[in-house]
């Protein structure tokens, strides 16, 4: 599984470089010089990386680095005796890989939903809905906490960006149409 993931990233990069290099040949000489100067070495490096990926034995997984453990070992070498750090408690850790994959999809769903909401209905309509739903459903906060935090944050964002910095945020593709329809 990890092997596929490792190579797929390199293959993706190889595809990007290859497509961009091919397209670059259609540009005038001056315009294609830089894409080719960058793209061709990029393709060669990707090929080299793919070869390196293959050299690693199939099934050998990239060990997940435990930075704290590594730091303990490094510290022990320096001071000449065992060193033990404290530990952090992980809140809401996934039970297994299946659970992790499910959460990954849900979190991406929230992100995608928020972006779609912004594109369709604008920031001011999407922010409170996204905050409330994420806090309540994903972060597991109580209704009171979720509503309070959503209200405070939405008002704060409005005052900081719209009033304080004078930024006019996107109102969405459909908001104007809906408001026009309501106004008759």
């Amino acid at each position: 599984m990890i092997m596929i993931q490792r190579q797929s990233m390199t293959v993706f990069m190889l595809a990007v470089f290859s497509i961009m290099v091919v397209i670059a040949f259609s540009y005038p000489e001056g315009a294609r010089f830089m894409p080719l100067t960058v793209g061709i070495p990029g393709i060669l490096l990707c090929c080299l990386q793919i070869a390196l990926d293959f050299r690693k034995k199939v099934g050998v997984q990239d060990e997940e680095k435990d930075e704290i453990h590594e730091a303990e070992l490094k510290a022990a070498k320096l001071v000449g005796h065992n060193v033990e750090f404290g530990h952090a408690a992980v809140i809401d850790a996934p039970k297994d890989q299946k659970e992790e994959a499910r959460r990954e999809l849900i979190t991406w769903g929230y992100f995608l939903g928020f972006l779609s909401g912004v594109l369709l209905f604008g920031f001011w309509a999407s922010i409170p809905i996204f905050l409330l739903s994420f806090l309540k459903e994903r972060a597991g906060a109580t209704w009171t906490k979720s509503i309070t935090l959503t209200c405070i944050a939405s008002v704060a964002f409005y005052f900081i960006f719209a009033k304080g910095l004078g930024v006019s945020l996107y109102t969405g593709l459909l908001t104007g149409l809906i408001l026009d329809r309501i106004a008759g």
Partner: protein
């Protein structure tokens, strides 16, 4: 020189708006530093939307102060609870945590906060001292060298990726440079890879890419894996202001160690790619080696707290030097910072010495004043800042995501950037999951345009012979040496660790 130096200080401290912004930046930097799950790079990326419309100097001072004080509060959890936030803090934990267990948490915190401040200030001084030394070198650079510097920058930052990731780092750096070619070609006016999409004619938005690569993947991971908090109750780690004051006084008592490790830290910061935690570990090793009683280390020796703290904060001043004068960020945090500087209109390179020396001095003074403010604040509010270690970071995710999306939009005010945000977030998350380095991408994207401009100028001036210019040859040799060292390091993964330990 002195006119510019003190003029910058005067302009900085007499401008209430700038001082106010510095106060805010320091407070945010301290809070972010102590909060689990939000790193220094992410905080700069998130702050970018807020500096839009700000004066160039004020924006740069704001971001730099925020970044520079991150580490000052970062070690609170490592000392009080033995839970290091990152590699820099881990070295402080070796003696800081045993001190806390012995009931000397206040003394350890006082020493580490003061040492951080002293390190930050000495790092800024080392940077200042290096300006006249570097001036002739920087001015000797022509467009040919700046093209090669861009390549060297990517190689260095790829080296930062470590282990067998050097080629991945270089691929990612070139990927960034490739995306930098999107948009109107400066030579021929051809709209490269943009088609009829007008929003791409100006190129890919740097802010959107930085946010997509550094903020979104981290937030999704945090939401998936859950947040970590200190496992020990605050009740177990009590301390008084008297203890903190005792800790503060430990730094002048060990002034020579603090001075040495600050200078070493600043020097390490100047070497791009050496890695953020190298300074802290090297200086911890130095403190052990030069101590008359090395057996005390690991059991709560205050020198073991002072050395890594001075070094890790001093390196910020050092890493600003290659970032500003050569356009090569000294660390991944500085890579994001450089992107932010470009957005503010600050173009790294020789012009920083010839035209914007006042800005350089303002940034140096900002480091000094920012560190002083941070230390003064933190000594009094440590116990409250420590509470942040108990925040469940998952709760922060939606607020940060909102800031990210707003940031991507306000950059250019174009909704199409939200689509780029989504696409690049997918790439960034895939990189994170596949353990690919992401910092080289920013360097590639930032340096891509500069490199292209320099390359065309160099070709116009010297043709292909620009590769044989003396400085060009030195830079080419450095690129080859970096790659060779990286290959050696990938074959012997523990080689650098061994070097650090033996040092």
């Amino acid at each position: 020189m002195f006119d510019v130096m003190f003029g910058a200080l005067g302009a900085l401290v007499t401008n209430p708006q700038t001082m106010g912004l510095m106060l805010v930046a320091v407070m945010i930097g301290l809070i972010v530093g102590a909060t689990p799950g939000i790193g220094g790079r992410l905080s700069i990326a998130l702050a970018i939307p807020f500096v839009f419309g700000m004066d160039m100097t004020q924006g740069a001072v704001f971001l730099l102060c925020m970044h520079a004080v991150n580490g000052t509060s970062g070690q609170i959890s490592s000392i009080m609870f033995g839970v290091p936030g990152d590699g820099d803090d881990a070295a402080t934990t070796i003696d800081g945590y045993p001190m806390a267990k012995k009931g000397e948490a206040g003394r350890a915190l006082g020493a580490s906060i003061t040492a951080s401040g002293v390190g930050g200030i000495i790092g800024a001084i080392v940077f200042a001292v290096m300006i006249p030394v570097l001036e002739p070198i920087v001015l000797a650079f022509s467009p040919a060298e700046f093209f090669l510097l861009a390549i060297l920058g990517i190689t260095f930052i790829a080296f930062l990726a470590g282990g067998d990731n050097i080629f991945k780092g270089m691929i990612v750096g070139l990927f960034g440079m490739m995306l930098a070619t999107i948009g109107m070609d400066p030579q021929t006016g051809t709209a490269r890879y943009a088609g009829d999409y007008l929003f791409l004619w100006d190129g890919v938005s740097l802010v959107t890419c930085v946010l997509a690569l550094f903020a979104v993947p981290e937030m999704i991971t945090l939401a998936v894996k859950g947040g970590s908090i200190a496992a020990i109750s605050m009740e177990n780690v009590k301390f008084s202001y008297k203890q903190i004051f005792q800790g503060v006084m430990e730094v002048p008592r060990h002034w020579f160690l603090a001075l040495r490790t600050s200078i070493i830290g600043a020097m390490i910061g100047m070497v791009p790619g050496l890695g953020g935690s190298a300074a802290a570990w090297l200086c911890y090793g130095h403190a052990v080696q030069t101590s008359k009683h090395p057996e005390r280390f690991g059991h709560g020796a205050v020198e073991g707290v002072i050395a890594p703290e001075t070094a890790s904060n001093a390196k910020e001043g050092g890493s600003l030097l290659p970032t500003l004068f050569f356009g090569i960020p000294g660390s991944s945090g500085m890579a994001v910072m450089m992107g932010a500087f470009l957005i503010l209109g600050i173009q790294p390179g020789p012009a920083m010495i010839t035209k914007h020396l006042d800005l350089v001095w303002t940034l140096i003074w900002a480091l000094v004043v920012g560190n002083l403010i941070a230390v003064s604040f933190l000594l009094f509010i440590t116990r409250w800042v420590a509470v942040l270690t108990f925040i469940n970071a998952t709760m922060l995710v939606p607020f940060i995501v909102v800031l990210v999306v707003i940031g991507a939009y306000v950059n250019e005010g174009q909704w199409e950037n939200l689509l780029i945000l989504l696409a690049m977030s997918c790439v960034g998350y895939a990189m994170l999951r596949a353990n690919w380095p992401r910092a080289p991408f920013v360097i590639g994207l930032v340096l891509g345009r500069i490199a292209e401009e320099s390359l065309h100028k160099a070709l116009d001036l010297w043709g292909m012979a620009f590769f044989t210019r003396p400085i060009s040859l030195v830079l080419i040799a450095m690129i080859i040496a970096t790659i060779a060292l990286a290959i050696y390091r990938s074959r012997k993964p523990n080689a650098l660790d061994h070097m650090q330990v033996s040092a």
